[in-house]
């Protein structure tokens, strides 16, 4: 089942092309990460999905009901816009009540829904405060709260954790993770570690086109790749590595002192660790960190531009 599908979507702002035939397929119940540089078209894609922008060509299917229209999918799809300002004079609970009523939540259900989102965004004590009296981070939490009102099926979150303090970031990230399977979340973020911790599907977008879409497992090869951060230069020879783990592909980034290993299906991360780590120790390499998967950041950089060569060997 697909919750949101873009097919060949193009959007131009005057002469500038923001989306250039974007294809995207967001599975129902997934936490889907949208990765791209500034101006790649992520925000435009989200605004198009909920009808705030008009596309020039292509099709967008929302929840299997065709193009978005509030009369059809209203209340089932919500958006957390990136830089939009809430009405400053409204009180927090009144504003959320207004949004809830507009999307068809009413009566005791509305009260429960408002209470619930205020609880998990830690805003219960400020529910009667006018928005203008809130700090930037609190306002951001109100915008997060409005996106989760009334248990929508599809939630589009544009940089949801930006502007939050570290504690709130962790808390809300955990709350987002709990939504997996119940709701579909499309998250756009420049913080790739955040996406790596949350998502089960990712798409890389560059210059308005999708350049890759896959499961996070497949993209970062978590089960088939290890990164070892060394405390100094790599002194183990390449021949020794390939002899110990036949079929292994490896690179060494001398600037980061990172040894990356990609190994065949018959090998598990634990088995590679058990084989390689003793060799490295014997060769005099200090090991500071070992992590599975190549990392979303690295994969994104590789996918969008040639990786920098730091003088390592392969």
């Amino acid at each position: 089942m697909i919750a949101l599908e873009f097919q060949g979507v193009t959007k131009r702002y005057g002469r500038r092309t923001a989306l250039n035939g974007l294809d995207l397929s967001v599975p129902t119940g997934s936490i889907f990460g949208l990765v791209g540089s500034n101006g790649a078209g992520k925000t435009t894609a989200m605004a198009l999905a909920v009808g705030l922008l008009r596309m020039d060509s292509g099709t967008i299917d929302v929840l299997g009901q065709g193009a978005f229209h509030p009369g059809r999918q209203g209340g089932r799809v919500t958006l957390l816009p990136q830089d939009s300002r809430l009405p400053l004079h409204a009180r927090v609970d009144e504003l959320l009540g207004y949004y809830g009523r507009l999307q068809g939540v009413a009566g005791p259900r509305l009260k429960r829904a408002v209470d619930e989102v205020l609880d998990w965004t830690h805003l219960q004590d400020r529910r009667n405060s006018p928005v203008r009296t809130l700090s930037h981070g609190m306002m951001r939490r109100v915008t997060i709260a409005q996106a989760f009102l009334g248990e929508p099926d599809l939630i589009l979150l544009d940089e949801p954790l930006s502007g939050l303090d570290p504690r709130e970031q962790v808390r809300i990230r955990e709350m987002l993770r709990l939504r997996r399977g119940r709701q579909t979340l499309l998250i756009s973020s420049h913080n790739l570690h955040e996406l790596e911790a949350l998502c089960d599907q990712v798409a890389f977008v560059d210059l308005g086109r999708r350049i890759r879409q896959d499961s996070l497992e497949a993209v970062i090869r978590r089960r088939h790749s290890l990164v070892m951060v060394l405390d100094g230069p790599m002194t183990l020879s390449g021949a020794a590595l390939t002899e110990a783990v036949p079929g292994v592909q490896w690179t060494y980034d001398s600037a980061r002192s990172e040894l990356t290993l990609v190994f065949p299906d018959e090998w598990t991360p634990a088995r590679v660790n058990g084989t390689i780590l003793p060799l490295l120790v014997t060769a005099g390499c200090g090991i500071l960190e070992v992590r599975s998967g190549s990392g979303l950041e690295r994969e994104y950089l590789n996918a969008t531009a040639p990786p920098p060569i730091h003088g390592g060997f392969q």
Binding site: A47, F68, G74, T78, Y99, L102, P130
Partner: protein, 300 residues
């Protein structure tokens, strides 16, 4: 949620937001202060004219304004003269049955009401697009319901403003005028408040239409005043240009503006008044939906 339900929600929120932001109080105060100040000015001028008239006739001067005017207003000779001047007996009789204070206040509202409506309404939608707050709403309800709700919310504020303004004029009259007729004046003021409201609705529709077309509140505000001037020029041309070649075009254009129906609001008979009121309401929603034709396709 139905269209009506959404419109009602948005209208209620517009009112509530105006109250919380104190915008509505400024708006009401503006109308009240304008009405009170203009009524006081009118009564001062009336008193000076009456004093001058009385001294010319060699009579005892009155201490409060309105007494001489009321006597004159009700005299048969004056009524005959007015009937001949206006050329329409029913209209003359109807106008002379209205207390002078209410007549002045009606003129005041029909003249300056559009300006105040334009001043306050032309930025409302543009500023929400500008701040981006519209992005929290327009995936929850349709653009049409949102815009119509905004319009309705402001229409209610406008009605309150005219009623409060009428009350201000009535109180000034009661305090300052000699031979003040409380009930006839109150009823006449109420009737003019309702007529001015319907007239103001058309301008509200015009300002809301412009506001839907621009993301910048300043641009929307400036252009609304531009549109107001164009409406005035069309009405002026339709009134004063006598060239036969231009008359049909100017008359049609004039009917498409609120100003073209203003004169009918002074007429007492339903045959003129009701169509004018209906026209003005149709114009209000017509302008609103013309603006919506642009707004519904706009990037927000």
């Amino acid at each position: 949620m139905t269209l009506g339900g959404s419109v009602g929600r948005v209208a209620f929120q517009e009112l509530a937001d105006s109250i919380r932001s104190r915008r509505v109080w400024v708006f009401l105060l503006l109308y009240l202060a304008g009405s009170v100040a203009a009524t006081i000015l009118f009564l001062n001028i009336l008193q000076k004219m009456e004093t001058h008239l009385v001294s010319t006739l060699g009579l005892n001067p009155a201490t409060e304004p309105g007494g001489v005017t009321a006597t004159l207003w009700k005299s048969d000779a004056f009524q005959r003269m007015m009937t001949q001047l206006i050329g329409d007996r029913k209209l003359a009789e109807s106008l002379l049955s209205i207390p002078p204070l209410a007549l002045f206040w009606g003129w005041l509202c029909l003249t300056f009401g559009p300006l105040l409506v334009t001043l306050t309404a032309s930025v409302r939608i543009a500023e929400e697009v500008w701040s981006g707050s519209v992005r929290f709403v327009l995936f929850r309800t349709t653009r049409l319901s949102w815009v119509t709700g905004k319009f309705c919310g402001q229409a209610v504020q406008l009605l309150l403003a005219f009623l409060l303004s009428a009350l201000g004029a009535w109180v000034v009259g009661a305090v300052r005028m000699n031979s003040f007729e409380p009930l006839p004046t109150a009823l006449a003021l109420l009737a003019f408040a309702l007529k001015a409201w319907v007239y103001g609705l058309a301008y509200l529709g015009l300002a809301t239409a412009v506001s839907q077309m621009f993301a910048s509140p300043n641009v929307a505000s400036a252009l609304s005043f531009g549109v107001l001037m164009v409406v005035g020029m069309i009405h002026g041309a339709a009134t004063f240009v006598k060239a036969a070649a231009w008359r049909p075009t100017l008359e049609i254009l004039d009917l498409l503006t609120p100003a073209g129906h203003r004169l009918d609001l002074w007429r007492p008979d339903a045959a003129h008044l009701v169509p004018a009121l209906v026209y003005l309401v149709v114009l209000a929603f017509g302008y609103l939906f013309l603006g919506h034709l642009v707004f519904r396709r706009r990037d927000l």
